[in-house]
């Protein structure tokens, strides 16, 4: 549905993005992830035909954005970063304008406006002036204007930024409800959001693609090691050496404990086999009594930081993850 190939944009001599390529399948929600200033907005602006790239091609629904921007834009809904709106217009007048500009007329237009006003929960504020609305409502107006022509492709640049937690959940639910009928690209730097909404992630860092794939696969690809935390009562040194002799364990480090009696250890092991039962036996064999044992979950944040941190170390590899 969306094909981006070798996209490069220079701002003067400064590269905004370099050689960005990815694809989005029909009905998929793609999370576009990256730190601030990584090039997310630049990519999205090129995608929507707002800005021409220095080189590279973008095809949406098989149509080249640079050659036929108007045809692509008729199939597109875009919510820019910071959600710009006309504060002096009423919600209905604004949606009427957008629907008309996107080519809807007469009864079709009225039906489309009714649909997005209902779908985005704007019924109560429809005749109010946008400038007087709360930020949550304004965000819904922004989504409504993107959705009013029922576009097959939606580009949402940080749709939940600046909202309170309840509003964030509302907007996320709204976006999730669009899944299937629309192909969505959603940029964010809020990691849990990706977990909740997206099927697939593209990580962009310093203007280049740092990773592309399903979330779990990304996490698995980045981490080849897992950490298991063990706490026990008993002789510290004996337990440590006991744990270190378990097959699969790479290193064991002893953590100092203020209370003195309990021993805390951090075991690093290669991925693959579950060694936790072996660790339990090793503790008992060393004369200790196990009080706690757990495997650390790899968080999205860790994955993200690894991808971004690793990129500078091994740029070529990371680009092909």
């Amino acid at each position: 549905m969306i094909e981006v190939e070798g996209l490069t944009k220079f701002y003067g001599n400064m590269p905004g993005i370099q050689d960005v390529s990815f694809k989005v399948e029909e009905g998929e929600i793609l999370g576009f992830l990256g730190p601030n200033g990584a090039g997310k907005s630049t990519t999205m602006r090129i995608l929507t035909g707002y800005m021409p790239p220095t080189s590279g091609t973008v095809r949406l629904d098989g149509i080249d954005v640079i050659e036929k921007p108007l045809e692509v834009q008729a199939r597109l809904g875009y919510l820019p970063e910071n959600n710009p709106l006309y504060p002096e217009m009423t919600v209905l007048a604004y949606l009427d304008f957008v629907a008309a500009v996107k080519g809807l007329r007469g009864a079709d237009k009225a039906a489309a406006i009714d649909r997005v006003v209902g779908g985005c929960g704007l019924g109560d504020v429809a005749s109010r002036i946008i400038g007087h609305l709360s930020k949550g409502y304004r965000q819904r107006v922004g989504l409504a204007q993107a959705l009013v022509n029922d576009p097959p492709i939606l580009v949402l640049d940080e749709p939940t930024s600046g909202l309170d937690p309840a509003q964030i959940i509302e907007i996320r639910d709204l976006i999730r409800s669009l899944k299937g009928n629309h192909t969505i690209i959603l940029s964010t730097h809020i990691l849990p959001e990706v977990n909740v909404i997206c099927d697939r992630v593209v990580v962009i860092h310093q203007g280049r693609i740092a990773a592309d794939g399903a979330l779990d696969a990304l996490a698995a690809g980045v981490e080849d090691e897992e950490t298991i935390r063990v706490s026990a009562l008993g002789p510290a040194e004996a337990i440590r050496s006991g744990l270190a002799s378990v097959t699969g364990v790479r290193s064991v480090s002893l953590k100092e404990d203020e209370a003195g009696e309990e021993v805390h250890l951090e075991v690093s092991a290669g991925k693959g086999r579950d060694i936790r039962p072996d660790l339990v036996s090793a503790v008992s064999a060393a004369g200790g009594r196990l009080t706690e044992l757990y495997r650390e979950r790899i968080t999205l944040e860790d994955t993200f930081v690894k991808i971004i941190g690793g990129e500078s170390r091994n740029q070529e590899d990371a680009a092909h993850v």
Binding site: K9, Y11, G16, T42, R45, T48, G49, Y50, M51, P52, P69, L70, E71, Q73, A74, L76, Y78, P80, N82, P84, L85, Y86, P87, E88, M89, A93, F97, V98, A100, V101, K102, G103, Q145
Partner: protein, 258 residues
């Protein structure tokens, strides 16, 4: 065409929502009212003097049109110098400042349609302003005979000159995201072009002709005398076309720069 009209209608709605609209329209009618009153009073004084000195009357060729209306039509350009930058400053600058420009440029409309819509909106507001001033010739016409041909040519001239001013103002607005800066740029361009003919006094013959040619205000003169001179007509239309073209280029540059 319909996209142009959509943009224009939205511009008009926003314009009449802002207080600038009412300040501009109010100041405009007030100032022209003052000019007309002054012109009337002046005419009254001159009439009195002529009654005492009948020989002068034949030399002066004083009519209600040439003595009351024409001076006001000339003064109107001075008011336009101040009013036009206020009308046009928000056209693109506000959209850039608010960020709505980004959305606007991703809707399926051509840049040309966008700028024509915006241009049409200020042109219509200016049209309304001109229609408002018609009350003065109308009042005059109720009491004395007015040369409507001259009045018509003057209004055509004012419409053309005003449209050229508006095109300059729109170009200035497309260059910056700051409305004040936009207003200052257009004011400076208009004022400079307005005073060019003052410089022509001391310039050489060729230079002086050039300066007078590019002096916007001078092109109104023949219209006010009731002459529709194609040279002036073509010049003013060309200024419009040039500014619209440059505005389109400015939009393309804005897109490219991102």
């Amino acid at each position: 065409m319909s996209n142009i009209w959509l943009i224009c209608r939205r511009e008009l709605a926003s314009f009449f929502f802002s207080p600038v609209a009412y300040v501009v329209l109010g100041a405009w009618t007030l100032l022209l009212g003052v000019f007309y009153s002054g012109s009337f009073l002046n005419y009254a004084v001159i009439s009195l003097q002529i009654m005492r000195n009948p020989q002068a009357a034949s030399r002066l060729n004083l009519t209600a049109t040439s003595a009351i209306l024409s001076p006001v039509f000339s003064s109107t350009t001075v008011v336009l110098l101040f009013v036009v930058p206020l009308l046009t400053m928000r056209l693109f600058s506000e959209e850039k400042k608010q960020g709505t420009m980004e959305l606007l440029l991703t809707y399926p409309i051509r840049d040309g349609e966008l700028l024509m819509g915006k241009y049409l909106s200020v042109l219509m507001i200016y049209g309304v302003m001109l229609v408002l001033t018609f009350i003065y010739p109308a009042i005059l016409g109720a009491f004395v005979s007015v040369d409507w041909g001259v009045v018509g040519a003057s209004y055509l001239g004012l419409l053309l000159l005003g449209s050229a001013f508006l095109a300059v103002g729109m170009l200035a607005s497309s260059l910056t995201s700051n409305q004040i800066v936009a207003a200052m740029i257009s004011f400076m361009i208009l004022l400079t072009s307005f005073v060019l003919d003052f410089l022509s006094v001391s310039a050489g013959p060729l230079m002086s002709q050039l300066l007078r040619h590019f002096s916007l205000g001078l092109h109104l003169r023949s219209f006010i005398q009731g002459i529709i001179d194609t040279r002036d007509l073509v010049f003013l239309v060309n200024v419009n076309i040039l500014c619209l073209f440059l505005t389109k280029r400015s939009l393309e540059y804005y897109r490219w720069r991102g």
